[in-house]
Point group: C2
Chain length 236, copies 2
DNA sequence: CGTAGTATTGACTATCTTCAATGCCAGTGG
DNA sequence: CCACTGGCATTGAAGATAGTCAATACTACG
């Protein structure tokens, strides 16, 4: 994996300034000025099931999801495995590893996923603009922290599932339009693992939600209703 | 609340460099060099029940807990109120507010609590060293994010309570010695609100844990056993 | 067409919540 | 000093919810 420029796929395996990336708006919300000080390297596409980070291995880099979805798995002390989170477009993966020194979870692609590896401040001569990067990383991490305040613990199963789906839809749809279709890339079992529910309970909850017309969901496909779009407005 | 120096209580209501604070080790783990670039202002002691931040109000500042414990409460859309987290010595409060623009939770003292208000980078002429601050804030936020991956959703009530108590003990004891006593400052009901359990379930779980000798707890007082101390080593 | 993974449904059981009552303890006022 | 009050902790009993086990569909893919 040499670093020299290749004539095609110009942005692959080479650090580039995020300000020069056409997809930057998907990652950084607000547009970047030229010479943003944020450098990244587009990584190979992760096919479904591919592992980006493995729990326990030493910290390598912080990644950002450009497209697709990663699930974060953790093996507990007793050997049980649980899904502790999902990461979609624009979300960070591995920042906890930076703070702790090693990966605290395994990150695996739930569907075909594209990521960028962020160039870490201080690593090379590019540290000059690292203040901008640090601020943006902090903002993203803080928002992820805010989101992780599980709004569902203690709620009945139906509410948990509804909250998760609505949140996931909000996070992963491209723009904020109504009438869009969003696909839940994970299985019911994976969804249950994350929510702390049995697979069957998830299924029954989804059936109820469809029945009560709170969610327009068929298989893994969710249609965004006006209600969900409205809630989405309160989101950063 | 004027800013001028007073002859006594020299560190109150005046920004100072954290490197000059005797309690800095409690906040920042690793020692700080002189001119750390991290400035803070010691705030008035919060008596039990006092509110530091109120959900919905515009972002003011990031705070750090020096001593005591804050609980973070959130009023949901349906009006129900839930405790979404606790913050003890060395942990940040309000960083989500910076990212979102407004406080996402109410922060209330569960016991007498001391906090510092961090001087925000770029606000004044002190921004020079803000890189150090940003890095430390990012590290703390990342660790809080890592911790928030609720290791208990889906576990039986007993395991949830055990996990919470052990985690809380680990976070809040002053040094890492065995044989120490730690006080849980919150009521059983508050504990249940956080874990998503009824007050009675918490009581029964604690009774079971005491019976099975997994926790040495009496009332609100927990004694640290060898097992808990051992787990603590894996912590940052 | 067969297989594997996933989704769904039903029946039974374990767990947790709810409701209700009681005990404990500190603070308050007569 | 003592009764009274309010907040918190504890316990029991009944009912609701979610988990488990088992069987059956659905779907993609070779």
């Amino acid at each position: 994996m040499q670093k020299g420029k290749t004539s095609r796929g110009a942005r692959r395996h080479v650090d580039f300034d995020c300000a020069d990336c056409l997809a930057a708006r998907r990652c950084w919300d607000a547009p970047l000025e030229e010479c943003s000080g944020i450098y990244a390297r587009r990584e190979d596409l992760l096919p479904k099931g591919a592992v980006l980070l493995r729990q326990g291995e030493p910290f390598g880099a912080v990644h950002i999801v450009v497209r697709g979805c990663l699930c974060l798995r953790e093996t507990m002390l007793d050997g049980a495995e649980r899904i502790v989170g999902y990461r979609v477009r624009g979300e960070l993966v591995g920042i906890e590893g930076w703070a702790r020194g090693h990966c605290t979870y395994t990150a695996e692609a739930v569907e075909t996923t594209m990521t960028c590896r962020l160039s870490w401040p201080g690593a090379s001569g590019k540290a000059a603009g690292s203040n901008a990067l640090l601020q943006r990383l902090l903002a993203k991490t803080a928002i992820q922290l805010d989101r992780s305040t599980t709004p569902w613990s203690g709620l009945p199963a139906i509410e948990r599932v509804a909250a998760f789906v609505e949140d996931f839809v909000r996070r992963s749809r491209a723009d904020h339009a109504t009438g869009e279709q969003v696909t839940l890339p994970m299985t019911r079992a994976q969804l249950g693992s994350y929510l702390g529910l049995a697979e069957e309970t998830v299924v029954r909850a989804l059936a109820q939600l469809r029945l009560r017309k709170r969610l327009d969901i068929q298989g893994r496909c969710v249609s965004v209703t006006a209600r969900q779009a409205a809630h989405g407005q309160s989101d950063g």
